[in-house]
């Protein structure tokens, strides 16, 4: 039982990381209708910035997180403005390939800046876990990750539901032209979405590397793909969907690793995704829009 709970907590915390990344994917997809393949690499950049801030500049952990959030926000807005904005009217494939180009660019730039050898990321979370949780081998990082995910999720729900900017985002994702007619600055709204998504990616990067401390230019790639899966799993474009999808993917992966096979864990995750999409073509919480003539 203890072991089971331990796996469950592992799954939950990994799932929380996926959920935070998936929120970035899903918001960008919802609003710009594009698969932002470079998102996984923004995570990696966020982790590197935090790593440099703590090991080279000697900043405290929280300051490094703030710094990496700021850096990734700037990066996200820059990427959007330079690479994606000129392609607003282009077909989805052109944008996809550009996103892949950005992803290559970030990975190779990181390799030039920080080298290909993996850096050993020291966990930023160092407090003592309460007694009753320590019994189940729950680590402090897991706890922080899960709490962070819940807070971010609640914050985003409030933001999109109650604030003016959030409402503008929903309006733009519903119908760009109509939103523009209502006086919403579409370009600014899209930039804002990228900014939020990238800041979330920075937090996800720090949490991911606190959890598994190997940091290298390709660190973000696989979690990026899995978080993307999580977003689709929950219904892409839906914020609660990304959360549910992320947590489920994390738990399925942890259980598959523990009870079935370590080397086939990813296959099982992807297999579940395929089955879910066949039964519910728009994901768990996605809106299914039937094609009309």
């Amino acid at each position: 039982m203890t072991v089971f709970i331990q796996y469950l907590v592992n799954g939950l915390s990994m799932g929380s990381v996926y959920a935070i990344i998936a929120l970035g994917y899903t918001m960008v997809y919802g609003i710009a209708k594009m698969l932002n393949f470079a998102h996984g690499d923004v995570i990696m950049v966020g982790a590197y910035v935090s790593f440099c801030a703590t090991s080279y500049l000697g900043l405290p952990g929280w300051a490094s997180v703030v710094l990496s959030c700021v850096a990734c926000t700037v990066l996200g807005v820059l990427i959007e403005g330079l690479a994606y904005k000129p392609l607003r009217q282009a077909g989805p494939l052109a944008v996809l390939i550009t996103a892949i180009g950005v992803s290559y660019f970030l990975q190779n730039a990181a390799q030039l800046l920080w080298g290909a050898t993996p850096k050993n990321f020291t966990s930023l979370v160092t407090f003592q876990v309460p007694e009753f949780l320590a019994k189940f081998n729950v680590s402090a990082v897991s706890l922080v990750t899960i709490v962070a995910c819940l807070v971010i999720m609640a914050g985003l729900m409030f933001f999109t539901g109650k604030t003016k900017m959030g409402k503008a985002m929903r309006a733009v994702s519903e119908d760009k032209a109509a939103a523009q007619l209502m006086g919403i600055n579409v370009n600014r709204t899209i930039s804002m979405t990228f900014a939020i998504g990238s800041a979330l990616a920075a937090i996800a990067g720090v949490l991911l590397c606190s959890y598994s401390p190997v940091l290298q230019p390709t660190t973000g790639a696989m979690p990026g793909i899995k978080a993307f899966d999580a977003a689709v799993f929950g219904g892409i474009g839906s914020i609660p969907g990304a959360f549910v999808g992320g947590i489920l993917i994390g738990i399925i992966e942890a259980m598959a690793q523990a009870y079935i096979s370590t080397s086939l864990a990813n296959s099982i995750v992807f297999g579940v995704l395929i089955i879910v999409l066949l039964v519910k073509p728009a994901g768990l919480l996605g809106k299914y829009v039937p094609e009309k003539v």
């Binding site: 550009t98 660019f105 730039a109 030039l112 689709v232 096979s261 080397s263 073509p281």
Partner: protein, 359 residues
């Protein structure tokens, strides 16, 4: 040459001729040792990538289904091809003959898998189809990584290494046996049997198959399905059937390309055929032009050679590659820039006219 009056046919024959001339030039250079060593090693992979690009263009450009897992079919073709070639080493001593057999077997294996994957995948479309093909690509990669295959005089032995603890010794091969695929290490110690000639022939075969398919009644049906599913269905075209035809033919070609590719390396691990390879081929297709086979051939050849040519920039070459990719996409797809280039073109054209008038 009456048939050349048709514009499409003419276009296709120019493509064939262009490929033949290019291959002839490469052969000439090869026999005179004029090819730099770093590119000489890339010749067979280039032909394999060209076939991959043609085959992916059939799915993405002609049938309109974005597939992100095409490298999976390539890996199935490569591994069945390698196993076939090694297993037949004593039965069929001639290398070219074994290469042909392994390409055919690889193509058939990939086609069967393409059909099986196509049944669930083709129920979806758009971004969902993309993510499911991506998922299948990753699944194929992991399953291949779990395989341990060996051959001896009793036949073929296969272990599916789920626990990750099995090794080649668990195959209990006889003295005369050879291990072909060693799990995560992949295939190693295999003699290479692919040649550039075989690659060139395969490219031509793939071009003939795909171009003829596209210009046929079936091809027109596939294009109709791409352009408007509902309209196509309402005139009696079976949407799933025609998408499936494109998908399976494409998978078979990818399998053939994989078998050719596999025969070029003595060491080949399954991670060679990951998501990045699928993306690389998609980049060839999109840069070459969706639905344009000639473009795919050119893009695949140029973009495989480009990183080699950029080698003098060593560390910066992939960075430059990424920047080139982004710039090309932005310059060819941005409406303002397109209009800008069109204006420049007009100005040159009108200057020429003025010059012509003055004379």
């Amino acid at each position: 040459m009456k048939f050349l009056k048709d514009k499409q046919t003419r276009h296709d024959f120019v493509t064939y001729a262009m490929c033949l001339v290019a291959f002839a030039i490469v052969f000439f250079m090869q026999s005179n040792h004029m090819i730099p060593r770093m590119i000489a090693g890339q010749l067979v992979p280039i032909t394999a990538y060209i076939v991959m690009a043609i085959s992916l263009n059939l799915v993405v450009g002609i049938a309109g289904d974005l597939s992100l897992g095409h490298a999976g079919f390539m890996s199935v073709g490569a591994y069945t091809g390698i196993v076939t070639a090694v297993a037949l080493e004593s039965a069929v001593p001639s290398d070219p003959m074994r290469l042909i057999i392994s390409i055919v077997v690889g193509a058939i294996a990939a086609a069967i898998l393409g059909f099986l994957i196509g049944i669930p995948v083709l129920r979806l479309s758009g971004d969902y189809l993309a993510i499911v093909t991506l998922a299948f690509g990753e699944i194929i990669k992991e399953i291949v990584t779990c395989l341990i295959v060996g051959v001896d005089s009793r036949g073929l032995h296969v272990i599916f290494n789920i626990t990750g603890n099995s090794t080649i010794n668990d195959l209990h091969l006889l003295e005369d046996g050879t291990a072909i695929i060693k799990g995560a290490q992949g295939a190693s110690g295999v003699s290479t049997y692919s040649t550039f000639l075989a690659g060139a022939i395969l490219v031509m075969v793939a071009l003939v198959i795909v171009l003829n398919l596209v210009r046929s009644r079936t091809g027109r049906a596939i294009i109709a399905v791409r352009d408007n599913k509902i309209a196509a269905e309402s005139v009696g075209i079976s949407v799933t059937q025609y998408r499936m035809i494109a998908f399976v033919v494409s998978a078979a070609l990818a399998g053939a390309a994989g078998a050719l590719f596999g025969g070029n390396f003595s060491q080949l691990s399954a991670t060679k055929f990951d998501f990045n390879t699928s993306i690389l081929i998609l980049v060839f297709v999109v840069l070459g032009g969706l639905g344009n086979m000639r473009g795919s051939v050119i893009a695949a050849a140029l973009l495989t050679v480009l990183p080699e040519l950029l080698r003098q920039f060593s560390d910066y070459r992939m960075l430059i590659y990424a920047i080139v990719l982004i710039l090309v996409m932005v310059f060819t797809n941005n409406p303002q820039l397109k209009a800008f280039f069109a204006r420049i073109k007009d100005r040159f054209a009108s200057k020429k006219e003025v010059a012509a008038d003055a004379q």
